[in-house]
């Protein structure tokens, strides 16, 4: 697993916030972020395509639109660090990253 992408409708607002949170959470979980390690980025729905990342993170109302691009992690509250951490930890463990 190499790449996580946060997606929102416009690629300007919430996806950027989520990207920041993912990066922080990864650091807390001891996963290296950046060049050659785990890449984290954000984009808008229109730019996404199947296989864009190993994991796509989005808010709950975009789930139906995003699922077709790959494995999706859905957040009820994008500002809830605890929610993100729990869900991300589960996925990363499943994939054997941590």
């Amino acid at each position: 697993m190499k790449k996580i992408i946060a997606i929102c409708g416009s690629g300007l607002g919430s996806s950027f916030m989520v990207e920041m949170n993912i990066k922080n959470t990864l650091k807390e979980l001891g996963v290296a972020v950046g060049l050659g390690d785990m890449e984290v980025d954000h984009m808008d729905l229109g730019s996404a395509y199947p296989g864009v990342a190993d994991l796509i993170v989005c808010g709950k109302d975009l789930e139906d639109n995003v699922e077709r691009f790959g494995e999706t992690l859905v957040l009820n509250n994008i500002f809830d660090k605890a929610e993100l951490k729990t869900k991300l930890e589960t996925v990363l463990k499943e994939k054997g990253v941590i």
């Binding site: 929102c8 409708g9 416009s10 690629g11 300007l12 607002g13 919430s14 950027f16 916030m17 920041m20 949170n21 950046g34 060049l35 050659g36 890449e39 980025d41 954000h42 984009m43 808008d44 729905l45 229109g46 730019s47 996404a48 395509y49 296989g51 864009v52 989005c58 808010g59 109302d61 975009l62 139906d64 639109n65 009820n76 509250n77 994008i78 500002f79 809830d80 660090k81």
Partner: protein, 676 residues
């Protein structure tokens, strides 16, 4: 969006009783024929979308408007240009500089707010940019407590900058909207020029005459300080052919200092045939020429064979050019538009060198002169039969539109030396693939033939992508050598010293190299305001309840709409997005971030905030209740990121506090806390 030129062109057409040719319009608007055609298409699209008959093009006669169309525009166009038209920052700054320079009265922020109908912050940002712009020409923006701003500097600098703006932004000053000069005097001066042309049996380029006439009328009306010439310069001027004639025709209108000034300009117009007006400072000219040639070599990575020939050509050019720069003498280059088109790459490089030279000499260099520089470089390369071409690049994305537009902007910023041919969708790739050197794509391509030249990137470039692209395009020449050098050093260190030392050195080199490519990203991150600079007191609203989410979106965006930061269609777009994609802007329970994309009608950065006492549902079938609606207007991909990051921190750590805020002060306190 129609721009000033388009509106001006429309107003000319609607006031004209006869058809106007493209040449007429190009002359009257003061832009190239190509931009007239370009405007024409834009205007017709605009007319079509408003169900108004389009501009007619009669062969041999020219362009005209139907009466219906005329009456539609005649009513409001001329006077209301100011209200309809939103000036770009560049245009505003040009106008602001002119208004300062003519110094009718000292101007305050409020004057510009009213003139351009923009916010205080916008004017403040203009002043910041303006300061930077004029300091290069040794002028300074001063502030006189209580009276406002004014520009200080010597008459030579003042006039050369004024003339530069008049000639570069011709279209902005065609309508005497700012009352800069008496139109009658302009006509009188033009008539006199005509008589001078007859007396000297020469003919001057019409645009030059018009600009000069406007300049002289401006000088007169605003009693600008005269330039006092040094004795030896005066002597040269007075001995010239032009002086007697100018004196004869203009003595009734202008003092002797202005007669000198006019003479200087008229002499300048035939400067390539006269050697009277030339800089004598050989050492300085040589220094400049060496600088130009060196920068040209740096920027193009071309090893010039016969450098001496090029230097000589530039030397003679600069000898007369220096005087022109100093006094802002206009020097028409009729090939300018062609040069720009044909030698695009060389012109761009010349432009960049000219900018750097402006900083050295402290005078503006106008497009005509840049075109001459490009001619020298271009001709020389031709002589050497070496061709300067940028690698041609094709962009590919899923639908060929939105993503690639962003990507294009980003690539053009990141890589100076590429030429992007087109942005296409997957189906069209093969049409172009043979003609380009590289294909940059955001979707995996399965084209074996072009594997070698395909570069796969993410739609929003990641740091890895940037790094790779930067290496491919900017370091093609040095890249390989660098890698070899690095390897050799490390191997030697390892052999003679220790493995550890070699490893450390390796890291240092890597880091330094990383810094070099990161520098580009820093430039991109400039000017990101903080949260409390964006959400100010007037951007916070409280309301008991709204009838539905649409009202919530409108109410929340109202402060931005009122200030002209966004257009109404921006809010409409937010609503239609919700229709299409669901209430995805509800990013957390109780919180919605109402936003669309920059191209949906955003003029500048802004955020506003609506707090509701009673929650409103953003969905028809699900529970998506919201009490706090933030409208976010982002003019590009970058400028809002700092403020948004801070807002995000606020929501993450102080959700309860923000939801319990009862007054603007409460909210502002929280905002300030996170604006660090």
């Amino acid at each position: 969006m129609l721009d000033y030129k388009d509106y001006y062109m429309l107003s000319l057409l609607s006031h004209s009783y006869q058809p106007l040719s493209v040449d007429d319009l190009s002359r009257m608007v003061g832009v190239s024929r190509r931009s007239i055609y370009y405007s024409l298409n834009k205007i017709n699209d605009f007319l079509e979308s408003h169900d108004i008959p389009k501009i007619e093009n009669h062969r041999d006669e020219g362009l005209s408007l139907f009466d219906d169309t005329k009456s539609f525009f005649k009513y409001d166009m001329h006077q209301d240009l100011s209200e309809v038209y939103v000036y770009t920052q560049k245009e505003r700054i040009a106008i602001e500089i002119v208004l300062f320079l003519i110094n009718q009265k000292q101007l305050g922020i409020i004057d510009f707010e009213e003139l351009f109908l923009v916010s205080r912050n916008t004017v403040l940002s203009d002043m910041k940019e303006l300061r930077k712009e004029i300091i290069r020409f040794h002028l300074t923006l001063e502030y006189d407590n209580g009276n406002g701003y004014y520009i200080a500097g010597s008459p030579i600098r003042t006039r050369s900058v004024l003339l530069y703006i008049y000639s570069s932004y011709t279209y902005l000053f065609k309508i005497n909207r700012f009352d800069l000069y008496d139109e009658e005097l302009v006509d009188t001066v033009l008539m006199k020029f005509k008589e001078i042309e007859e007396a000297l049996s020469v003919s001057y380029v019409i645009e030059t005459k018009e600009t000069l006439a406007k300049m002289l009328a401006t000088v007169k009306k605003n009693t600008l300080n005269p330039i006092i010439f040094q004795e030896e310069d005066k002597k040269i001027l007075e001995e010239s052919l032009e002086f007697m004639i100018v004196k004869q025709f203009f003595s009734d209108l202008f003092d002797v200092e202005e007669i000198h000034y006019i003479t200087l300009h008229l002499m300048g117009l035939r400067v390539h045939t006269s050697h009277e007006l030339e800089s004598q400072d050989d050492a300085y000219i040589k220094k400049l020429v060496n600088f130009m040639v060196k920068r040209f070599k740096d920027l193009t990575l071309i090893d010039l064979q016969d450098e001496q020939v090029l230097c000589e050509g530039l030397y003679f050019h600069m000898k007369s050019a220096l005087i022109r720069y100093k006094y802002g003498i206009i020097y028409e280059n009729e090939l300018k538009e062609d040069l720009k088109e044909q030698y695009k790459a060389i012109y761009q490089i010349s432009e960049r060198i000219a900018k750097e030279m402006e900083d050295m000499i402290g005078h503006p260099i106008n497009e005509n002169d840049i075109a001459y520089m490009a001619m020298h470089f271009g001709a020389h390369l031709k002589r050497e039969r070496s061709e300067l071409t940028f690698p041609k690049v094709l962009l590919v994305c899923l639908n060929g539109v939105a993503t690639s537009k962003m990507l294009r902007k980003e690539l053009e910023f990141l890589l100076e030396h590429i030429e992007i041919i087109d942005a296409v969708s997957l189906d069209e790739v093969e049409v172009y693939a043979d003609q380009v050197d590289y294909i940059i794509t955001t979707i995996p391509l399965d084209l074996k033939d072009y594997e070698q030249k395909t570069i796969f990137v993410s739609p929003l470039l990641t740091s890895i992508d940037r790094d790779r692209l930067y290496k491919i395009f900017n370091n093609v020449h040095q890249g390989m050598e660098f890698e070899v050098l690095k390897k050799n050093i490390v191997e030697k260190l390892e052999k003679n010293y220790s493995h550890e030392l070699a490893k450390d050195v390796w890291h240092i080199i890597e880091k330094e190299f990383q810094k070099k490519s990161n520098k580009l990203q820093f430039v991109r991150g400039k000017d990101q305001p903080m949260l409390n600079e964006v959400i100010t007191e007037d951007k916070i609203l409280f309301k008991d309840h709204v009838k539905d989410y649409k009202e919530a979106i409108y109410e929340s965006g109202k402060p931005l709409l009122d200030e002209g930061i966004i257009e109404e269609r921006y809010l409409e777009k937010v609503i239609s997005n919700i229709h299409e994609m669901g209430p995805y802007i509800v990013v957390a329970p109780n919180i919605a971030i109402s936003h669309a994309r920059p191209e949906d009608g955003v003029h500048e950065l802004g955020m506003s905030m609506l707090m509701l006492n009673e929650a409103v549902n953003f969905s028809e079938d699900k529970d998506r209740y919201v009490k706090l609606v933030v409208t976010l207007a982002a003019p590009d991909e970058e400028s809002h990121l700092k403020a948004l990051g801070q807002l995000s921190e606020l929501f993450m750590n102080s959700m309860e506090e923000i939801m319990n805020c009862k007054t603007k002060d409460d909210v502002l306190k929280l905002i300030n806390q996170y604006s660090i």
